[in-house]
Structures are given as structure tokens and as C-alpha cells.
Symmetry: D2
């Protein structure tokens, strides 16, 4: 891991643990309530250093994790959070070389998690601005070469899937059941479908469609993360937590 370079993405961490996402660029400055730090001071420094702004505030410089990036990147109201991305990687058995259809792509959060595991993604996305933002986020975090494995088409997954012999179909759509019959022909035998759904009613309808289409091993669950406050003798769960994002349903394509 070499020193920080122009174009690198960094996280500046202030003394109150607030995080700021910055892409390093010669000639630019990071401005805060306490003056600024020129990017040139950061370029060439090592990760983990703490620098001072012109008016004395200290900022620690780190490369962001994917989780940190997702929470700071440009994104729409809805995003699949890191809490669910890790479990999805396991549930969908994401591994190098798989051909994945993802629809919609949202802001690209889950795409980045899967691309990083070495898959090829075709994204079906209705809204051009979502496609653009997802691509921009992927390029910024993973680099331009990741785009070689990330092709987004502006189209409606409910109307059909052109790809065949897919390994995975990953859905974050309001009506995933509309995709089931398309997925049944687009997936190779043994291939896996996964849907992320906020409402349990969506889960019910998706499960019904999966059963009708002959999918096997259908399973639904939800993931809860419980943060802990650990400070000397005060050791307890956080007072509040995210209680719900979405349900995760998986199934595999059998052969009739």
C-alpha cells in the first residue's frame, strides 16, 4: 500500500468522528468550519496520518472502506446498505466469474460489493440518472477498469430478460414477482435468484411466483445489526438501531 496519490479517494475524519469523502486533486482544498487543508498536503502522505487545517482542527486521513463510501457517496433515497450487502454476498454465493443480472441498480451500492468479488454484471435500470450515478460511483470507488464488467441497459426487467445462461438474478424492484418467469428461462439450471423487498407482502407474492415457476430451496430472512456501546464500565447495546431495511428471499432454479 503506497502513499496517497492524486485521484485517490480518501476519508477525512475529524475529532468528533465525522467523516468527509474527498477525491484528491492537485490545486484543490478541503474546506471546513475550521479553515482548510490543501489536497497537496495530503497527496504523498501515508494513510493514517493526522493533519491540521489552517485554523487548527485535526483530520485523520484514511482510504474509505466500501461501507464508508456507500454511506457518503451520492445516492437516492433508497440504497441497499452495507448491513445487507455482506449477507447478500453469502446468500447469493457471489464469486469470481459469475454472470449476474441486477435490476434495478439503484445507486450502485450492491453492484460495487458484487463487482469487487469478481462477477460480471448486466444491470437493467429504468431511470437514466440512476444508471449514470451507479456507473459514476462504481468508477470512483473501484476504478474505471471495473466498468468493463458492469454494463447497464436502460430497460424494464418486468418486460423480459435477453440474457441466457445467467448464474444470478438479483432484484431490488417493487414487484419482483413480475420477473420470476423471465428469470426461470434466463437462469441456467441451478442458478440463483435473490430479491430484496421492504414489505412482507412483496415477499409473499414473490414466494408464490417462485413456487409456481418451479424454483426450489426458496428461503426468506432478514438481517438485524445491533451496535454496542463499549466505554469502560458502560457496556450496553446502542439505545437505538435500524430495525428494518428489507427482507431477503433466495431460491434456485431447478429443472422440471
Amino acid at each position: 500500500m503506497t502513499n496517497l496519490r492524486e485521484g485517490d479517494l480518501v476519508l477525512l475524519l475529524d475529532s468528533k468522528q465525522r467523516q468527509y469523502l474527498v477525491t484528491l486533486q492537485a490545486g484543490k482544498e478541503f474546506h471546513s468550519h475550521a479553515g482548510f487543508i490543501s489536497h497537496e498536503e495530503i497527496i504523498g502522505a501515508g494513510e493514517g496520518v493526522t493533519l491540521r487545517s489552517t485554523r487548527g482542527a485535526s483530520y485523520t486521513v484514511l482510504r474509505p472502506t466500501l461501507s464508508e463510501f456507500i454511506l457518503k457517496m451520492p445516492r437516492g433515497a433508497q440504497v441497499i446498505y452495507p448491513k445487507d450487502i455482506g449477507p447478500i454476498l453469502m446468500l447469493a454465493d457471489i464469486r469470481p466469474g459469475l454472470r449476474v443480472l441486477e435490476s434495478g441498480v439503484g445507486s450502485g451500492a450492491l453492484s460495487m460489493g458484487m463487482l469487487r468479488c469478481g462477477v460480471d454484471i448486466v444491470g437493467y435500470e429504468l431511470r437514466e440518472e440512476f444508471a449514470d450515478r451507479a456507473r459514476a460511483n462504481v468508477e470512483r470507488f473501484l476504478g474505471a477498469e471495473a466498468l468493463d464488467r458492469y454494463r447497464i441497459e436502460l430497460r424494464d426487467c418486468y418486460e423480459g430478460i435477453d440474457e441466457t445462461d445467467l448464474d444470478r438474478v438479483i432484484l431490488d424492484l417493487p414487484e419482483p414477482w413480475q420477473v420470476v418467469s423471465h428469470a426461470a428461462t434466463a437462469l441456467r439450471p441451478g442458478g440463483l435468484i435473490l430479491a430484496y423487498s421492504p414489505s412482507i407482502v412483496q415477499v409473499m407474492q414473490f414466494r408464490e411466483a417462485l413456487d409456481k415457476a418451479g424454483f426450489i430451496l426458496a428461503d426468506s430472512m432478514e438481517v438485524l445489526n445491533r451496535g454496542w456501546h463499549v466505554d469502560g464500565m458502560a457496556v450496553r447495546p446502542d439505545h437505538r438501531m435500524v430495525a428494518h431495511t428489507g427482507f431477503l428471499t433466495t431460491a434456485r432454479r431447478g429443472v422440471e
Copy 2:
């Protein structure tokens, strides 16, 4: 995805959804209470087919996911379960090219999850039979080439770490706080340490050691998976669930 071949790992799924893990080998047979199926029938078939045993029971053939493999592979009493492996991949920001120290390696479950994301692992493990089993599991599921990125040393992580400039130190040990000072010098600045700990007392002691050693962004949490039963009008969480495996604590090495 081509047809099943000799040497392939498959999961046989009976009509009651019970799963059997089999490595295909010409001349062998899979025996059950309902007669047998010869491996040669399976070899050459496509994933997803359903075959019948000599006495008429039907078995669907699938390649196992990593999660399914972990639950069926030879393993000791303690293993890091898929429930935690997905979140660990995100919390530890596992990505291709990272150099990871893992101690202990247990049965290799977490190792497989990380290797599949493209890291290089050095494992410190005290017990030779654990090292052997972990290597065997990795080879069986990921193939022999994965061993090029998986080197296990029979040694005690409490006594020191020889590696330097590590990107990650991942601990599943009874006393992770004994490793903190070693990790502080073995990790590159900005590097990340993660410990999996069953008891909250371990978390307390680990967090105290992290603070003393100048680690930053320390955070502790636990992951709960809640399964759902979805069957027509009967839609409810499963009656019972795994309520605890381990707490996950992460921190990053700052520069003093």
C-alpha cells in the same frame, strides 16, 4: 457453466430438503436408506437435475453454495457461520489483493469467504489438525490453486507476528487483546483489525487494548438473522432462531 464432472462437489437434495455433500468420483455410489445412485449417473448430468435412487427416492443435484458447504463440511465444534462471514467481508472491507493475517483458522470457513474475494492469507494456527482440516476444506471447495494464496503456520499469535505491512488482521481467538500490540506494528497505517468474540467480556478487554494501542474507529456489533416461514396465509418469523454466535469488533491502525 458446464455439466458436472468427476471431482466436482455436489449437494444432493432429497424430497425433505435434507442435504448430502458428495465429491463425484467414477466408480463410487451415494448410499441412502432408499438404495443408491452411482456417481457415474451424476457425472455428465447438468446441475439442477433430479435423479432417482435404486429404490425410488428422488435427489436433486446442485453445486453447493459456500454457505451450504460450510454447514456440511468436516468442522470442529466452533466455526464462524455464514451469518457472520458476509458481514465480516463488509466490516473488514475484504477485496482483491489484500494481505490478511488470520488467527486461528478454525475449519477454514472464514478463510474460504475471504480467499474467494481475492486476498492472500497467512494463517497462524496452534493445532496441526485444525490447519490440515482448514487446508483440506479450502482445497475441496475452492480448488488446489486457492492454496497458493493460503499459507498456514503452526504458531501462537499471542507471541508475535512476523509479517509486516499487513492490510488486515482477523482474529478468532479466546484472548484477542493479547494480539493488539503485535497487530499495531504488523499492520500498515490505515490497516484494519477485526475480532470475532463469543463473550462480551472479551469485547471489553479487546476494546481496552485497542484504545491503549492507539487504534481508531473502534466499533462493536452483533448480527442477527431472522428466518421467515412463508407458506400461503401462514407468514411469520420462524419460531426459533440462533440468538448469538459472536460479537464483531473492528478498528483501524492510526499513526501516532
Copy 3:
């Protein structure tokens, strides 16, 4: 609190914390794998004493709590557990003097919790053996005088409610929505309806009926109890837990 007397209900606790429920009766014996203890030894002893059976096993004698009694009393497959009874007492604001309709009564577990808070209960129950068992449990745990405030009618709550000006309607029925219009006239204004429902689909249908009938403040939730293992340095949540019993929905009758 005087010494134990004939007719008292006691819990015998063996050295492995197993519990046995016994009603003390002169001339009787409590038999175990390790011989017996005559009830007469227990009668006259004080709560908390530890006695030995004829073959040397020790048993501690306690009066059971309602929770302990519910887990040991004769009961059908379905019972409202102590986990939900405490929350129901608060959600339904159970207090002395209220007139409560309960349907069905099941094995009387919730009835006992409410009777103990001083309410009068009319139970509508379809099955005579359930009514008999509920009454027997109430009498055994709370004494015969509690039956003065506990009247069970063998009838179907879906077909109507004869009572008027009720303070509470408490439902543990497969189709609580069938009771909503009856409850709307049987409850006094401001009165409260509560349903315990295993499936979220039941909750959906009940909520829809409540809205249509003009009920206000409708709210649904579920209660999770997480046990902790606390033993020296091993301090962690129990490995497994009850993940689901039923959803609790409450609403109040407004005035149109």
C-alpha cells in the same frame, strides 16, 4: 407468608434446576428417579427449604410464580406465554374493575394474568374441554374465589357479543377481523381491543377491519425476549431463543 399448607401449590426444584409442580395433599408422595418425598414432610415446612428424597436427591421447595405455573400446567398446543402476557397487561392497560371479554380462553394463561390484576372476565370459548381446563387452571393457581370473576360461555365470538359497555375485548382467535364489528358495539367508547396473532397476514386483515370500523390508535408490534448466559467471564446472549410467538395489535373505540 405462612408455612406451606395442604392444598398449596409448590414447585420442587432439583439439583439440575428441573421443576416439578405439585399440589400438597396429606398421604401423597412425590416420586422421582431417586425415591420419593412424602407431602407431609413438605406441609408445615417454610418456602425455600431443601428436602431430600428417600434415595438422597435434594429438592428445593418454592411456591411457583405465574410464569412457572403456566409452563408446567396442563395446556394445549397453543398458549399465550409469559413473554407476551406481561406486555399485554400494559398494552391493554389491565387494571382493577375492568370488564373484559376474552375469546378464546385457551388454557387460561392470559386469563390468570388479567384476573390477578382485578378484572372481571367473560370468556367466549368454542370447545368445552378448553373451558374446563382453563377454569381448572385458574382455580388451582388463583383459588376458587377467582372463579367469581371468571365466567366462560360456550359460544362463538364470530357470531356476536351479547355484553355491552365492555372495557376490553381480548382476542386469541384465527380470524380476529370477524369480531371487529361486534366489538365496535360491545365496547364502551374509549374501550380497547387487542388481538394476539401468529401470522402477519392475520394482522393485516385485522388492521383493515379496525380501520373500516372506525377504531383509532391502531398499533401492531411484537415482543422478543433475549436470555443471557452470565457465568464468570462467559457473558453472552443465549445461543438460541424463541424468535416468534405472536404479533400484538391494539386499537381503541372512538365515537363516530
Copy 4:
């Protein structure tokens, strides 16, 4: 249930479900951003009616449940919430006639829950303003006659307990372990001790003290309430929830 009278406690509910707690008093007015309602309009009306303020906002009038009262009554930073009061009533087996020591009394929330079940409470409380507020809350919600069963002494429970033959000792104190030896002599055999503790470290120290003092059946747990959003097809857990208040530990006094 008669009409509302002077002195009655009511909850005014606006169209956005916001709640306002009011004690009815002739000559007074309830003021809001949308004009006012004179108390005299409410006095004599029936529960459940909807009234309009001078500038046209509508308010539904209900008697508050204990849970609603606790969330609106004057209280300090810390209070035992309804979420835990229901479970405590079951865990501590609260029933008519028990003699309970409670320390501290906080704002009286738990006291009200227990008094309503018919117990006699002696409260040990260090701070006079807490004692006064607890008494005022009890009187306002339960009426003056409840004070006959609620005696608060300004004293430190760590220094000893004068009462003997107590049925229950209920603790909401920072160091409950300091009370254990006092409770061991103050409780009758078979009596029950319960502590509410925010930090798991408090639980550990309390449990250790209980074991040393010969208490039996020690058990620790926590209660989680998960709210559900049920609105047509959108049926899901609430996005956020209270993840922690306190751990509940119970044990019973054995006889040495």
C-alpha cells in the same frame, strides 16, 4: 364507565396522533396552535368524543392508559418504560398483597404498574425531588388512595434495609450488588429480587453477588419491542426501534 368529570385525567389526541395530557378543571382551557378548548366542554362529555378548538382543530378525548401517562408525565432523564414494566410484572410475579421494597423510585413509573396490581410498596429514594415527583405521579394517575400503599423513605438502600419478611426487592440503582446482602436478610425465604440495569457489567457484578449470597434461580434477559408499520400493501417492521433500555435480572432467596 361514566362521563368525564372535573379532576379526571384525559389525553387529547390531535389529527396527527400527537397526544396532550390534561387534568380537567372547571374554568381552565387547553391551548394549542389552533385556538383553545375550554375544559368545561370536555367535562360531562363521554370518552372517545371528538371536539373542535376555537380555530377548528379536532381533538379526540380519551382516558390515558398507564403507558400513555408514563410517556407524558413529568419525569427525569431515566424512567423504566412500559416496554419493561409489563415484563417486570411477570418476572417478579407481582400480585395483590405482596410487600415490595423498591429502590430507587425514579419518577414512579414502575411503582404505578405494581401498585395497580395490588401490592404495598416501601420506596427507598435518595433524592427528595424524585420522591415528591413519584408520589405526585402516583396520586395523579391512580388517585390519592393509592398513596396508602406507597410509602417513600429518603434513604440509601446500599446502607441497609429495615424491613423484614419482604416478598419482593426491586432495584433500579447503579450498584445493585451493594443491596444483595441486605436483601438476603430482608426477603422472606422464597422471596424474589429483581434488578433493572442498563450495562451488562452491572449484570455481571449483580449476578456474582447473588451467587455468593446463596440466591437461587438467577436469570438475566432483555426485552425488545419491534413495532410494525401496517398500511395496505406496505407491511414491514418500523425502520427504527429502541434497541436497548436495561437488562432484567431476577433471583429467589433460598434457605441455607
